[in-house]
Symmetry: C2
Subunit: 449 residues, 2 copies
């Protein structure tokens, strides 16, 4: 059997791209459950592994200290529906599709989060995934009683302890604790449900959880840390890693590095799936695809894109001249996005204004062409050690997912590198990942890279 790639869909519970919502084909259904449910059906028809929702807990104000540019241009942080009820409503209309929501360890409590995902995992029959983030915006800290955010190393230290507690809570019911013996009666065996009695630096949690062990053992864990601490965290805890690269070469070196790091943490590198982000534009001919990409590009207001880039880098880009290149800067935010942006700025000689447009309408990996050309590009990355599959972003929702599913997916299937039927019933099974035994958190949190 040839190795198969995995596909995730990166859906925004809001307008997402500052040009996307302006397209005639874009549907402004961000506040309607049916909008997400229809995309879920499309993705399940296309045999996607999972749908993924990013998140942020503020309207970012990193551009000029104001939320205006986000709101005016419908940029990524302008409007974001809570992803948890969204994925619950998508689970209701699908049977196989995995469902991932982002929740920050910095502004939540482990009991709450462990319980939400355990509940979602049960309710969806083993399809829940948690994208673990530590957050990086001051505006988020200021919505949660802080004047400024904790520094990165504190955030990751807290995240490590958070995961340890979550693991203990998911394991607080043995797999066979629920007995349901009507006669005795014995609902659950008290000897198989354990207090966790965690007392650490950031959390003290007695347990047990009031939800039995999730069908997947733990929900699928996803991470996108880009700093050295972030990559360690991901190598230790993640089942799936998201990343964003401007070229195959940078994707390859990230891929190699993460797989090696996972091995040093005592994990089988096959048990970590790396799914770089792509935004293909598909057309009937190469020329038509390029035209389409240009049309979409035209609709991106440069300040809308720069506003989102400012929030991703956590750098106030409003202070730099628009018609010059962005100089090298200290980036407290997403290092990965900064590498990507530097690579593109150098390669294409962009001014800041052009970069804003580029970032707002960006096409990671530059997969623009016919369905066959896009499939070629994906196959090349996949077979050349750059990816275990991809996280599909689309220039506009929901149409972009329909096009990809109808045109690119069948070509990947024909080449034998993507499934035609789901392999299993849980997301872990479809991803080819082992169900963690009870106590697995212990091995992971003790591991040293």
């Amino acid at each position: 059997m040839t190795k198969k790639m995995h596909l995730a869909a990166f859906i925004t519970a809001g307008p997402g791209r500052p040009g996307g919502w302006r397209l005639p084909d874009s549907v402004p259904g961000w506040l309607d459950a049916s909008y997400y449910q229809n995309m879920a059906r499309t993705l399940e028809d296309g045999r996607f592994d999972l749908a993924f929702f990013a998140d942020i807990v503020s309207v970012p104000d990193r551009f000029g200290g104001s939320t205006d540019s986000q709101l005016r241009y419908g940029a990524l942080g302008s409007l974001r529906v809570d992803p948890l009820p969204v994925i619950a409503s998508m689970a209701a209309v699908t049977r196989h599709l995995g469902l991932a929501a982002t929740v920050s360890t910095t502004y939540a409590q482990p009991f709450t989060v462990a319980r939400s995902f355990a509940s979602l995992d049960h309710l969806s029959g083993g399809r829940a995934a948690w994208n673990i983030v530590t957050s990086f915006q001051e505006s988020e800290a200021r919505n949660f009683n802080l004047d400024e955010q904790f520094d990165r190393s504190t955030r990751y230290e807290r995240a490590d302890e958070f995961l340890e507690v979550a693991g203990k809570l998911w394991d607080s019911w043995d797999d066979d604790a629920l007995v349901l013996d009507v006669e005795q009666p014995l609902f659950a065996d008290p000897d198989k449900v354990h207090r966790v009695d965690h007392k650490g630096r950031y959390f003290s949690v007695q347990g047990p959880l009031n939800v039995p062990r999730p069908p997947q053992g733990y929900p699928v864990l996803i991470q996108a840390g880009a700093s050295s601490k972030g990559k360690d965290f991901a190598a230790r805890w993640s089942d799936v890693i998201f990343c964003s690269h401007a070229s195959k070469e940078s994707a390859q070196s990230f891929y190699t590095e993460i797989k090696e790091r996972a091995a040093t943490f005592g994990r089988d590198p096959e048990e970590i799936k790396i799914l770089p982000s792509i935004t293909p534009v598909v057309g009937p001919t190469t020329a038509r695809a390029k035209e389409l990409a240009d049309e979409i590009f035209e609709l991106v207001p440069p300040i809308g894109g720069l506003s989102t880039l400012a929030y991703h880098l956590d750098v106030d880009l409003s202070t730099f001249p628009l018609d010059e290149r962005l100089p090298e800067v200290e980036v407290p935010g997403v290092a990965g996005h900064y590498h990507e942006v530097r690579e593109i700025t150098e390669r294409e000689g962009l001014t800041l204004r052009q970069l804003g447009k580029q970032y707002g309408g960006r096409y990671e990996g530059n997969f623009i062409g016919t369905a066959d050309e896009v499939a070629d590009g994906l196959q090349d990355w996949f077979e050349d050690g750059a990816a275990d599959g991809f996280t599909l972003q689309v220039p506009y929702q929901p149409g972009g997912f329909e096009t990809f599913t109808r045109q690119v997916v069948p070509r990947l299937q024909k080449r034998g590198i993507f499934r035609t039927e789901y392999e299993g019933s849980t997301l872990r099974e479809n991803l080819g990942l082992t169900r963690p035994a009870s106590g697995e958190w212990q091995r992971r949190s003790g591991a040293q890279g």
Copy 2:
């Protein structure tokens, strides 16, 4: 037009009653979405106003300092799925039914909760409700980094500020802030989205929310406080009040008191709906209903009921002799339940063991009989100033809801005291409640009783 009663269904996202799960007709589907979705369909067929989920964030260990009695007997706190994804999945299969989840102000943050309910309100088309609790178990505090819980007055002070912040966040987008002008472009009008800049004793929150104002203005707010502070809180903030009474007389006096209190807080008493809890048992004949009630009663293990009563009263009942009456005790927990239990203990001369059985299989209001007799009882309470409607509990799920909907609802409809069609499209409209104007929180939080 005759005044119509309102009906809520009290569903437990777990076994609920320590006898209920042992009944042959009980379906152990607490971990499946379809279990809740089927109930949602039944309730919508029966034109219920809303489905309501209670909650607790621990497995209580108030009986003998151990969770064993809860787990062994499948008592109320043994297993509780997170109600938020549950109501999201019920929203997916219904169009009119209101959906209420309990979230504690003591262990959550206002940004998170305001956003969840705003999101649910949008996704469900205006059907979300929040049952506001302040929590009262030490075991809950110990899952959230505390050695012991805050005292009641601190909890309510925090709850008041929590609601103030939530109100500010729901109002942080003006009703017409989302513009979606593709040409300009103008996604949202920055002048109509406001920071909240709240700085208080318990919270500091910058805002704005990243979700537009909910369709209902605020989600429907529900409360069940029973202490004097709790009743003040409810009179100030609630649209709907839950309570639990052993007789019509005590329901009447609570009803009168709350409506008066609401008036002193400057609110129209008609804008607060009081829905006492009932657990009817319906049979083809009176005798058969009584038999059925007895059969169900037989299945209740006394310790299972006492374990839940211990948690509700927050009193370790394992230290009292089982074959004597419960003496008068100091009750840090739910005063309302204590009044109810005292009333029954005196009236029926129960020992603690008998009380445990009674509490575990309890039938508030004692509506046991034919469908006509039950309808008579409800009509009497409703027309005699004891209730604006009811919160239906059932001795076993999901069957109890089907029986009530098929047999009692048509009789209430025939008498003209219950709707045959939904009046509006949002929960507020069906409850006959005004949509709060932006800024309403200000009036409520400033009001003095």
